[in-house]
Structure formats: C-alpha cells, structure tokens
C-alpha cells in the first residue's frame, strides 16, 4: 500500500510531465492500433486473394439476360458443382431481413466458406440441408442468440450462432469487402433452392466463381447458364490479379512499413521516456533502499508508477477506437501493452538500480 501511495506521488510530482507523457502514448498508440487494424484487414483480404489465385479462379462478366429459363438438369449441375464438389461458390448481397433493412446481408453459397476461411463457422459442411447465420464484429442491430426468420417460398427460423472475427473479408469481383457490418448466411445451393426457389438466381449466376476447373468445365458452365438465360463471359482471376489487386498488395506493404515504423517509434519513445522518468526518481529509490526498502518494493513502486502512466492513455486510445467501431481484439492488445511494457521497463529500471552503488546514487544525485 505504501509503494502504491509513493507511486501515485511520483506521478503527481510533475503533473505536466505526466500529462505530456500520457498524451504522447495516446497519440502513438492510437496510430499504432489504427495501422494494425488496417493491416489486419489487408492481410485477411490478401489471404483470400492468395487462395483464389492458387485455385486459378474464374469469375464472370454478365452479358445480356434474356427470359430466365430454369431446368432441373442445370440446377442439379449447379448443386453438384457448389455443394458436392465444392468447386464453385456464389454470393448474394441483395437479400434483406424483415425489420433489418439497413443491415447488409451476405449470403455465401457453396464453397464460399472454404475460400474465405469460414469453414469452422459452417454447419452446412456436415449437413447441406442446413444454414448457419453469423454476424460481423460490428453489427449492433441484432445479437448472438437472436432468432431470424428468412426464406422467400418457405420460411425458416435460425439462431445467430456467434460473431465472426473482426476484419473478416470476402472478395466480390474486383473489390475486397468487409463482413464486419453484415449478417452472414452460410448456406448450400440445395438449401437456397428450398427456401428461395428461383428468386435470386440471376444474382447467384452473376456472382458465381469457379475454381480448380478445366476449360471444358468452364465451357459447360457457360453453356448451361446460357441455357438458363444469362450470357456469361469468363474472366481469369489470375490474369486480373495485377491489374485489380496490385494496389492491395501495395497498400498492404505500405501499411506494414507504416506499422513497423510506428511500432518502433512507440516502443523506443516509450522506453526512453520511461527510463528518463525512472532516472529522475533513481536517487529517491536509492535512498529508500538505503533505509530499509527491498528491491521488490522498488519494483512494485516502478510497476505501479508505469501502470499509472500507461493505463489512462491506452484506455483512451482503445475507447476512441472502440467508438470508431473496432472490435474487442484491441482491448487484448491494450491489456498486453499495459502488462508487458511496464514489466520490461521496470526490469530495466531495476537492473539499473541493482547494478548501481546505492550509496553513490543516493548521495551524488542529491
């Protein structure tokens, strides 16, 4: 308790220094966390891009859409491709839940989960007659455990299973999209037919992506979709990669560099400033050691002192980011910072004190 009081006194001893120090940490950490957030988002997207690239994915430019003409044979073909062989997926974004018209919905059909690393969230993988509903990390209009009713020709109720990790992404044609603010339905083609019949079929065809397919399979797909009433022109993802995704790589590299520089700046300035603050108190610590304090007591005091200096700006930086809609992951980052930095720096301060002649420090700095 005495060390706690002394540490608080240390902070209040030079209030202006404390405020400036806290301000510096706040600004640095805010930029650090913000850069990390952007970086994670980029990396999530790049993961998906790599997967699409590795699988030689094909997406389609839609030409004219004539009178839609669905056949069971073609439906079976699509179902086989998406559900059984997992060689295709599609994305529907026009679906909305009643009463939640302002909350975007992303329906991932077929191998969507596999491509965007959402397999573990998908019950459909074990039962293709099922659907799974998740929500993005920032969705506030509905909550985990809520029951949603959906379906066009047949209604079904499903419980929201949980939240996806922050920065979950998917790629729709040339754009990297976030799932953070969407309700996400992972479903199979079979289930989609059961609930929506041919509604949304046009969008399903327009947004379909094939992968691990040969040219014959692509030709067959185009032919069958043409028979359904949609003209599709294939576009190789890999051919478009540099044109459309080059900027993503570039951004990710720039962000990484920015993140590393910011991290370095934060760590160096934090360490230097903290050591300076400890140095200012070193004579006092030495006097306490001389008159009965143990090194453990001084360690406690430095820890409390540093926590007192670091916790307020970290909390503020996290609160601002949280209000801006970042996920809870940053709280853990913040807690990590709160614990690791003071611990490391306290040990540096303590080793400095341990290696010094305390009599010398006590008398020469007085």
């Amino acid at each position: 308790m005495i060390q706690f009081k002394l540490a608080i006194k240390d902070i209040l001893k030079k209030p202006m220094t404390a405020v400036l120090f806290m301000l510096q940490i706040f600004v640095s950490l805010f930029f650090l966390f913000a850069a990390a957030r952007e970086l994670l988002f980029s990396f999530h997207g790049l993961d998906a891009i790599k997967k699409l690239e590795a699988n030689d994915s094909i997406y389609f430019q839609t030409g004219s859409t004539s009178h839609l003409n669905y056949s069971q044979e073609n439906e079976d073909f699509l179902q086989k491709l998406m559900d059984s062989e997992k060689k295709a997926y599609s994305i529907l974004t026009s679906v909305r839940f009643e009463g939640l018209e302002n909350t975007p919905v992303v329906m991932g059909v077929g191998a969507f989960d596999e491509v965007f690393n959402l397999e573990k969230y998908n019950k459909v993988r074990t039962d293709s007659t099922d659907s799974t509903i998740w929500i993005g990390s920032k969705v506030k209009s509905v909550h985990v455990g809520d029951v949603l009713q959906y379906g066009t020709v047949k209604k079904e109720k499903s419980i929201i299973e949980g939240r996806l990790p922050a920065n979950s992404t998917y790629i729709l044609r040339e754009a990297m999209m976030s799932l953070d603010e969407s309700i996400v339905i992972l479903t199979s083609k079979q289930k989609m037919n059961e609930l929506h019949s041919y509604y949304y079929m046009d969008e399903l065809m327009r947004n379909s992506v094939l992968f691990d397919v040969n040219s014959d399979e692509i030709a067959e797909y185009i032919l069958r979709m043409n028979q359904q009433g949609t003209t599709l022109s294939p576009i190789s993802f890999n051919q478009q990669l540099h044109e459309h995704y080059g900027s993503l790589y570039k951004n990710a590299i720039l962000l990484t560099a920015f993140y590393l520089i910011t991290s370095l700046f934060v760590f160096v300035s934090l360490t230097i400033n903290t050591i300076q603050l400890i140095e200012q108190n070193l004579q006092e610590y030495a006097v306490h050691l001389l008159y009965g304090a143990r090194l453990e007591s001084i360690f406690q005091r430095i820890m409390v002192y540093l926590l007192g200096m670091i916790i307020p700006p970290i909390s503020l930086a996290l609160s601002v980011l949280f209000l801006m809609g970042s996920g809870l992951a940053y709280v853990y980052w913040g807690i990590g910072f709160c614990m690791i930095i003071p611990l490391v720096i306290s040990l540096i301060g303590l080793s400095r004190l341990k290696s010094s002649n305390i009599i010398y420090v006590a008398r020469e700095r007085a």
Binding site: I2, K13, Q283, E284, A286, V287, H288, L290, Y291, G292, A293, R294, S297, N357, I358, I359, A362, R363, E364, A366
Partner: protein, 225 residues
C-alpha cells in the same frame, strides 16, 4: 569477550576492466557498544568501503563480519535489509536527502519499512520526537531544498535515528559544513554516544577524530598501526 561488531580479515576488491583494485585488505577490528570510533586516512584509502561493508551495504570479497556474535557472511538479503533498517542508522556524505520531500517525509522513510509495521500516528510521533531531539522540529513541513547545510545534516541525523538503531554509521558527517556547524553536529553525535549508541564515523577532520574515543587510520586499504 563480546563485541557488538567484529570484522575478521575483511577484504574487498573491485574489478574495473582488466584492473583489480583492492579497496580494503584483511581488516580485523572490533567495535563495542556505546563507543565512538573515527576512521581516518587520505581519499581513496578504503574508509568508505570499510564502513559500507560494516553497514551491510557492500558485501566483502572475503573475511567475516560478526554482528552481536552472529556471522553475516551467509545471511540472506531479507535479514540484511532488516539490519540496515533497524540496527544501523546511516548518515551519508552530502546528506542524501530527497529534495522534493519535506523534512517529515525524509525522516519518515526508515519507518515505512519498519517491522512490525507502524501506523501513521505512530510514525508521526516517532518523527516529531526525533526532530525535537536534533533541534529542527519547527522545520517539519519545509522542503529540504530550502534548508541550510547544517539543517540538512540535522535532518539526515534524524532520519538515521528514527528507528532507534544500535549503531550510527556516519560518512563525512561534517564534510560540507562550516566549522561552527561542524562542531554543533559533532556535539550532537557525541550526545548520542552518551545515550548508549555506538558511533563509527569516517572523517577527514582531525579535530573530530580526536574527539572520538578511538581513531583508526587507514592507508591503501590497510590499517595503519
């Protein structure tokens, strides 16, 4: 015969790069309760190292230190800290006061680590009593940075006495004081010996040394016989 403190062939060497410096060489001494001893000698002769070894601030390289007939060669750091807090009272060269503390806060430091712990009221009574004794009670709330050299030394003495130690270790207690103030401070220290405290003092001042019951002269880490 029982001695309060006994050093047996105390030896201390320091290493500086490839050089080995022998600061104290095989010093054997005894100190009895209620006596005053001055350790004198030229700068760098090992006086301060010797007093720091006796005060458990610096471990000897070899030799033995007995306090109340107990060997301190193998004692743990907790026990050493306890002795530093309660058995010894240090008066450090240049006062070693914490400038931004007031007189009360400086004198209170040893009490914060006293075992058993003291409550605030007990600490206040002890601080006030010792400040009265050294004649500086009226300055209790003043920042030490505003005090004169003599007043600072009185505060340092009060801090050394506040836990009622058996032994007072004083390193150049009058080193930065004028002649008149030096005499006052020495008289204060002598009065403590008369009360039964043991005084071991490092000094360059021959007058102060002569005022002690015993003078030990050192040169190049050795006792001058």
């Amino acid at each position: 015969m029982f001695h309060l403190i006994e050093t047996i062939a105390l030896h201390k060497k320091f290493t500086s790069g490839k050089n080995i410096i022998i600061a104290v060489e095989d010093v054997s001494l005894t100190f009895d309760k209620g006596t005053s001893t001055a350790i004198t000698g030229p700068s760098g002769c090992g006086k301060t190292t010797l007093i720091n070894m006796i005060g458990l601030l610096v471990p000897p390289s070899s030799g033995e230190l007995l306090i109340n007939s107990t060997s301190f060669s193998t004692i743990n750091s907790r026990e050493r800290t306890k002795y530093r807090n309660q058995f010894f009272g240090y008066i450090v060269q240049n006062f070693a006061l914490v400038d931004h503390y007031n007189v009360y806060e400086n004198v209170e430091i040893p009490l914060l680590y006293a075992n058993p712990a003291l409550n605030k009221k007990e600490r206040r009574n002890r601080v006030q009593s010792v400040l009265q004794k050294v004649g500086i009670l009226e300055k209790v709330k003043e920042k030490v940075s505003t005090l004169s050299g003599g007043q600072k030394q009185r505060v340092a003495i009060a801090r050394a006495l506040v836990n009622n130690p058996e032994v007072i270790l004083a390193d150049e207690p009058t080193g930065s004081l004028d002649t008149e103030t030096s005499k006052e401070i020495f008289l204060l220290l002598k009065s403590l010996v008369e009360e039964g405290k043991t005084l071991i003092m490092v000094t360059h001042n021959p007058e102060l040394a002569q005022g002690c019951e015993r003078e030990i002269k050192m040169i190049d880490g050795n006792l001058l016989i």
